[in-house]
């Protein structure tokens, strides 16, 4: 079947009701999502949640049991070869041949990805430059550090300039400096290539990705921007303040600002009389200014710090996967 021309209106990745079972175990269960062109999407989930399986199905390395998966409008099951021409894939643990030189390996992969000999040379130079691999281009891959190996994997992914990049744990085992380099490299692809990355390092996902998909027990349990997920899954807000003065009437004062505003944690006062309080509310309205005004309006109270706490993606992740687990438990 001839490949359809790429249409920029068609999503880079489209997955509908995808199911994969192995020997009676359902690894992926009716997963639905789409990734727009040029979007960077983070794929989060505990070990064994089905992230790698979904990624491997999308790359054509593994067939799905049922459902539909398409890359740039081309069905992965029916037009697997065409799909492979449009994907750069870095599998988990980034397997690389140990006894090849970096440039040799990239040259070989470029030829397999059907880059013409004429274009391959300049493209290799460009990719080596971009991934900061020029210094090690003649080194044997087996002698490279983990950071360089990861960059070789990323260089291989972007070599043929595919519209879709899929990377399974691209920053696993890297030190913070190397993570920063890889993160910048991925961020630089925004707008030009759709990127799907899975990772356990949640702050990194938050900093790099436009959108997050959370998968647990083979199901997508939440998806959206990190802020949307915070709102949807955690709701409300938390404030931390440093306050000195009497406790009497404080609860009433807070209830006057917002009826659901309560003290959820209070530390013992320090030598200077200030103590740290954590307030929680189910309201998403910004309460910083009313709180500041009320607490500094007299009553012998002194306020020296007030912060709205932004829940971390870890909390969002735990809430999403925990809710899913609770639902499963109730259903069973």
């Amino acid at each position: 079947m001839p490949a359809q021309p790429d249409n920029s209106a068609v999503p880079a990745i489209e997955v509908r009701d995808l199911v994969k079972t192995y020997g009676g175990i359902t690894a992926v269960s009716r997963v639905n999502f789409a990734v727009a062109r040029g979007e960077i999407v983070g794929f989060l989930g505990p070990n064994g949640a089905g992230k790698s399986t979904t990624m491997r199905i999308l790359t054509g390395c593994m067939p799905a049991t049922s459902g539909y998966a398409a890359v740039c409008g081309l069905s992965v099951a029916a037009q697997s070869e065409e799909v492979k021409r449009r994907i750069g894939y870095m599998p988990e643990n980034n397997p690389l041949p140990e006894d090849m030189r970096v440039s040799e390996y990239l040259h070989y992969r470029g030829r397999l990805k059907e880059i013409s000999r004429k274009k391959l040379g300049p493209r290799l130079d460009e990719v080596l430059e971009r991934c900061d691999l020029k210094r090690v281009r003649h080194r044997i891959i087996g002698t490279l550090s983990k950071g360089y190996r990861q960059r070789v994997g990323i260089a291989e992914c972007i070599l043929a300039e595919p519209p879709v990049i899929i990377m399974d744990e691209p920053t696993i085992g890297l030190d913070p400096r190397q993570i920063l380099i890889v993160r910048d490299l991925i961020a630089s692809l925004r707008g030009r290539m759709a990127v799907v990355i899975s990772s356990h390092i949640l702050p990194e996902i938050e900093m790099t990705c436009d959108r997050v998909l959370i998968i647990n027990q083979g199901r997508i349990v939440a998806q959206g921007t990190p802020d949307q997920l915070r709102r949807d899954l955690l709701g409300g807000a938390r404030y931390e303040l440093e306050l000195a003065g009497p406790d009497a009437g404080l609860a009433t004062l807070l209830a006057g600002i917002e009826p659901t505003l309560k003290i959820s944690a209070a530390h013992a006062p320090g030598d200077d009389g200030f103590r740290r309080l954590t307030l929680t509310t189910t309201s998403t309205t910004e309460l910083g200014e009313p709180l500041w005004r009320a607490l500094t309006a007299g009553g012998g109270r002194r306020l020296r710090g007030l912060t709205r706490i932004r829940p971390s993606l870890e909390e969002v992740f735990l809430a999403a996967t925990g809710q899913n687990w609770d639902a499963e438990r109730k259903a069973s």
Binding site: C61, M62, P63, E82, P97, D99, L112
Partner: protein, 254 residues
């Protein structure tokens, strides 16, 4: 098949930078050199009816038993151990292209190593004054047999390499299979009385047809038996088809 040449070129290069290739080459040439020297010594002491080339090729199995496993054990076992097979199949290449590329590289190396033994005969021709020592018929027939049987042996090695991620296990499986193919039919026909029963005639004929030494005799006598040609070509094709199935099965079930 547009990636076949890319994979073939890559595999040849990889074989040339691998230590096991040189171990196989050195062992092979040393052993064959020793065999050839021993042969010539026996010809200087006693008159022989057959030319040295015919006797030389009768011992083809000695190097084949260790050389084929050493040349083929890495093919897929190493890729499976490192996980690079997944990356390879993420590119727009088919399992057939990969199998043929890897097989082609190992087979070309096998042929070139055997080709190097042509130097022995060149030296003999250069220094020996007796032209009877170099009868071209058995020499050409012997090399044709080597090229033909090599297709089957190397294909068996490639197939075994696709079954495991351990190179040692792949080498051992290849060794056992090649021994079975080379010696199995002759040993079975000589030792199993049950095969002499009339009802066993088809099996006896099949085993007789599969005797590799008989094919060698035919070729060195200048008889190009189509049945032998068919046996080695079909055996090699089957082994390569099984290799493709083995790779596809692993892709589908892992």
């Amino acid at each position: 098949m547009k990636h076949f040449l890319t994979i073939l070129g890559h595999e040849i290069r990889m074989l040339l930078v691998t230590a096991s290739t040189y171990v196989a080459a050195v062992l092979f040439l040393a052993l064959m050199g020793a065999i050839f020297t021993g042969l010539l010594e026996s010809y200087t002491t006693t008159a022989q009816e057959t030319p040295p080339s015919a006797v030389f090729f009768q011992l083809f199995w000695v190097p084949v038993f260790f050389m084929v496993p050493l040349l083929t054990m890495r093919c897929f076992a190493e890729e499976r151990r490192l996980g690079t097979l997944e990356t390879l199949f993420a590119a727009p290449v088919s399992a057939t292209e990969v199998v043929l590329g890897k097989f082609g590289a190992a087979y070309l190396l096998y042929l070139s190593l055997w080709g190097a033994t042509g130097g022995f005969f060149w030296i003999l021709r250069h220094y020996a004054s007796d032209p009877r020592l170099l009868d071209p018929g058995p020499l050409v027939g012997g090399y044709v047999f080597i090229a033909l049987s090599g297709l089957l042996f190397v294909a068996l090695g490639v197939w075994m390499s696709s079954l495991t991620r351990n190179q040692g296990v792949a080498a051992l499986l290849t060794f056992v299979l090649v021994v079975l193919v080379v010696w199995g039919p002759a040993v079975a026909l000589d030792n199993f009385a049950v095969l002499r029963l009339d009802s066993m005639r088809p099996l006896r004929e099949a085993l007789d047809y599969a005797q590799v030494f008989r094919h060698l005799d035919d070729f060195t006598r200048g008889v190009a038996d189509m049945r032998a040609l068919l046996f080695h070509l079909s055996g090699a094709s089957l082994a390569l088809i099984f290799t493709v199935f083995s790779l596809e099965a692993k892709r589908l079930h892992t």
